[in-house]
């Protein structure tokens, strides 16, 4: 039984279909990348898994249980946590409060203090600036807070939507390094990215999403060598 199983989902915005019979699965402990260009449907897919949108057809199972009709909060309680595209921090709240909200769910609440220590160990800068208001942080720092907030929720499956978006190359390395560490600590990661090189390098497997359809899947190493991936996504 796969950890996360997405089965043949169709997703629409109003009358416009943007995801077409999409299936994928993630095993426990894996790091899986979903790569694809702008408008391919990556965010829509994550939003659907998180319950912010619903699929018209198909099914989503997590640890064997159907979650396609669950409320976002119930999906969080099951341990699927999304770090959304564009950080989406609580801009006027301090770093500390942002992280505290991350541990809002019942399953994360009890361990909040302990998890906070882990987050600070992983990203010491956040502790140095814990009282700073989120909106005053740089893009890279904001992304760190967004990831930290996600960890505070004690994810079983952590989904990251383009964490490298809009960051300078040196910061991108930091972010992927952090994701690497999170995965090494045993968290299952579903990573959505346009930075194909970095994301596939730290992934076990990958899916290529184009126009709302999975057009290719396989071990990350194999995708990195694939001619289509090379020309379309790596500019080689």
């Amino acid at each position: 039984m796969p950890f996360l199983e997405v089965k043949e989902i169709d997703v629409y915005y109003g009358d416009m279909q943007v995801i077409f019979g999409l299936s994928l699965n993630v095993e426990e402990g894996e790091v899986v990348s979903i790569i694809g260009g702008n408008g391919a449907g990556k965010s829509t897919l994550l939003r659907t898994i998180s319950g912010l949108m619903s699929s018209k057809r198909g099914e989503i199972l997590f640890e064997g249980a159907p979650i396609s009709r669950s409320e976002p909060a119930d999906i969080v309680e099951r341990g699927i946590i999304q770090v959304p595209e564009g950080r989406r921090l609580f801009t006027l709240m301090s770093i500390k409060d942002n992280l505290a909200v991350g541990a809002y769910s019942r399953r994360a609440e009890a361990d909040a203090e302990k998890t906070l220590k882990e987050v600070y160990a992983l990203m010491p800068r956040l502790q140095e600036r814990e009282n700073q208001v989120a909106i005053t942080l740089s893009g890279g720092e904001q992304q760190m807070v967004a990831i930290g907030r996600g960890i505070m929720a004690k994810p079983k499956l952590l989904m990251l939507d383009e964490p490298s978006l809009g960051l300078a190359p040196i910061l991108i390395k930091d972010i992927f390094e952090t994701v690497r560490k999170i995965a090494d600590q045993g968290t299952t990661v579903l990573l959505v990215e346009q930075d194909v090189m970095h994301s596939l390098r730290l992934s076990d497997r990958g899916y290529v999403l184009e126009h709302g359809r999975i057009v290719m899947e396989g071990p990350a190493k194999q995708l990195l060598e694939d001619p289509h991936v090379k020309t379309a996504y790596l500019g080689l």
């Binding site: 998180s50 912010l52 409320e71 976002p72 909060a73 969080v76 309680e77 946590i81 999304q82 959304p84 989406r88 921090l89 609580f90 801009t91 006027l92 709240m93 409060d97 505290a100 909200v101 991350g102 809002y104 769910s105 019942r106 994360a108 609440e109 909106i135 907030r149 929720a153």
Partner: protein
Amino acid sequence: MITILEDTINGILMGSIYGLMALGLTVIFGVLKVINFAHGSLLMVGMYVAYWAVQLTGLHPYLALILVVPVMYLFGYYLQDIVIKPIYKAEKQVREPITVIIVTTGVWYILDNLSLLVFTPQYRSLPDNPLRGKMIEIGSMLISVPKLWGAVTAVLTAAAIYWFLQKTRMGRAIRATSLDREAASLMGIRQYSIYNITFGIGTAAAGVAGVTIVPFFNVFPTVGVLFDIKCFIIVVLGGLGSIGGAILGGIIIGIIESVGPQFMAATWTEAIVYGLFLIFLFVRPSGLFGVKYDW
């Protein structure tokens, strides 16, 4: 000179009570992004609950808080849950849902007319309550005791709500929802239950305001109309969603109202209040304490 000082002090006291009246409006707007046109009616309901609690038990008006706060909290909670939430859900994708505003207008009419039906248009007051007509003499100045109690209550209520929002788990969840409801729901926060709680808090605050005015003010079914426009002005002046801003906005209005008539006809002070409101709308729509950043 003394009269101006006296008027200023009494204006500050009454203004703080105005601020307390506006508190619920600003809290509800801050989180739900909806101007609650039923706010005056919530004040009215709060006044009636306070009035009857005191009238039937003969207790000190402020002891009515023990009853008014929970009753009004539950009233607001279920008003949002049963009447407003379904409309919200229907307009899920809309950021500032206009139909919700229309529904709150409907709630206003229904509550005012229900109260007309149940309580008749009769003016009611609490003539024997221990605060009525009491004054303190400071030098040659007379300061109203019930307004002083009201002002202290206003500041304490604002401080309590502020503390709750800043320091508690639920308060943080409410702030998070007000800043980004979708990101909040990705953290496991149930948006609609936050809306219920927020509406409950805002309504309870209106109830506290009701308690502070019944010792010196008549209660009647359309009494809310006297105050609701004032509340809207205060909230815009202080900054939509700002708790300190509501109290300060209230105080500004209170001072203009009480000191103004020294210099001009009372109708002019009203014109000044509205003028100030317009100027703020044009020049600084975010109010005194409103944040520049978009929520």
